[in-house]
Symmetry: C2
Subunit: 210 residues, 2 copies
């Protein structure tokens, strides 16, 4: 049975799950969530996921949310992206770091800078967030110095989680040229056979609302 | 050998690991991290944890960080707090939700409202964050309606993660009286045999800096 992923192109969190599904070779299809018209905050969507978030995955009787959980499910099902047994804590460590310090802050900053009407963008919040983001990019760039992948010798959920928002074109205070180890690693990810850009992998992108 | 936990009393993230260690019955001892004088940002601490964060756990040769990873390690070692095999995704789902939507935002808001000098507290950022926090409390309160514990019939890492910041006395826009299901659940947690308040479990608290 085809796995369904509730998602939308602009969502870096959904991209983490979509990219893992795509690269794993599992049979999956996206279901568009109309986030920008409030679908995640509506009753119908809350029945699927009480956390009210994309991505949400449905595989037969099983419904899961949180990109890190969906990634773990894909790993359990396919044996891919989990690293070796000894690496499991290290993979989870970077997935959690990404959720707390990288994606949550990039996601919010990108939203405020690009998806709010221009006269509603809170300048003080944006400036504050960019200071915090810089600390996160510094940690990531330092970790990638001398490494090909976040953990061990091949791609894991740690990479699929941390890379996600960094492929988006909208400005949020990140320029690949400033962060050489991040830049080289993003190229390694996008060179993987089967890799797709978020706007090519999931339905919906900013030009729909232009 | 005694497990060491690098932590400080004010850290809700550290409390998640400290409370799990304490309630598990493992032999552990706190090591004070002088966060307010910059220890987590210094070279010496980065050698222990390149993410520069408390909590960090050292058990013999093994060093782990991220409260969710330390909790998983305690579960693997003791069989406690992981829920049943079928509940494992649901437990991780709430740990990730907590890291992304609850603790990261409570932690930041509480810091800005209490631990910055009064003339440096960014009013716009605080107001913005409180809107986002209200959405998180709404999701948590709704989930706890009709439930004793976050997942299944007994306490898991989902509870130990989500409850953590909510025991702190400093104001950050949360009043237990406004959220009856959260309130009743926090009482269930603090009634557990062996439960301790963060300022009784870990060294350091705001009165040291008064
Ligand atoms: N930690 C979650 C975050 C998911 C998340 O926050 N998704 C956003 C879209 S990028 C969402 O659906 N937000 C719903 C809302 O704010 O109403 C994950 O990794 O899956
Ligand atoms: N997601 C992490 C968060 C840890 C974290 O952010 N800890 C804070 C203290 S509460 C810290 O050490 N921050 C270091 C800094 O900002 O320099 C966890 O759950 O362990």
């Amino acid at each position: 049975m085809t796995i369904k992923l509730y998602c939308f192109g602009e969502s870096g969190n959904a991209y983490k799950a979509a990219l893992a599904l795509e690269l794993s070779g599992l049979d999956w299809a996206p279901v568009y969530v109309d986030f920008f018209n409030g679908e995640t905050r509506g009753e119908a969507f809350r029945k699927i996921n009480a956390q009210g978030e994309a991505p949400t995955m449905v595989d037969g009787d099983l419904t899961l949310s949180q990109s890190g959980v969906i990634q773990q499910y894909i790993t359990d099902k396919t044996g891919k992206f989990g690293g070796t047994a000894e690496e499991k804590y290290e993979v989870l460590r970077w997935v959690l770091w990404d959720n707390h310090k990288l994606s949550s802050q990039v996601g919010m900053t990108r939203f405020l800078m690009n998806f709010l009407p221009e006269d509603k963008r809170p300048a003080d919040v944006i400036t504050f967030m960019q200071g915090r983001l810089k600390a996160a990019f510094t940690t990531l760039n330092a970790h990638l110095e001398g490494r090909e992948w976040m953990v061990g010798d091949s791609i894991t959920n740690a990479d699929l989680s941390c890379c996600s928002y960094l492929f988006y074109p909208e400005p949020f205070g990140f320029d690949r040229a400033d962060w050489p180890h991040i830049d080289a690693w993003l190229t390694r990810v996008s060179d993987l056979p089967g890799w797709k850009h978020p706007y090519d992998l999931m339905p919906g992108n900013p030009s729909d609302r232009a």
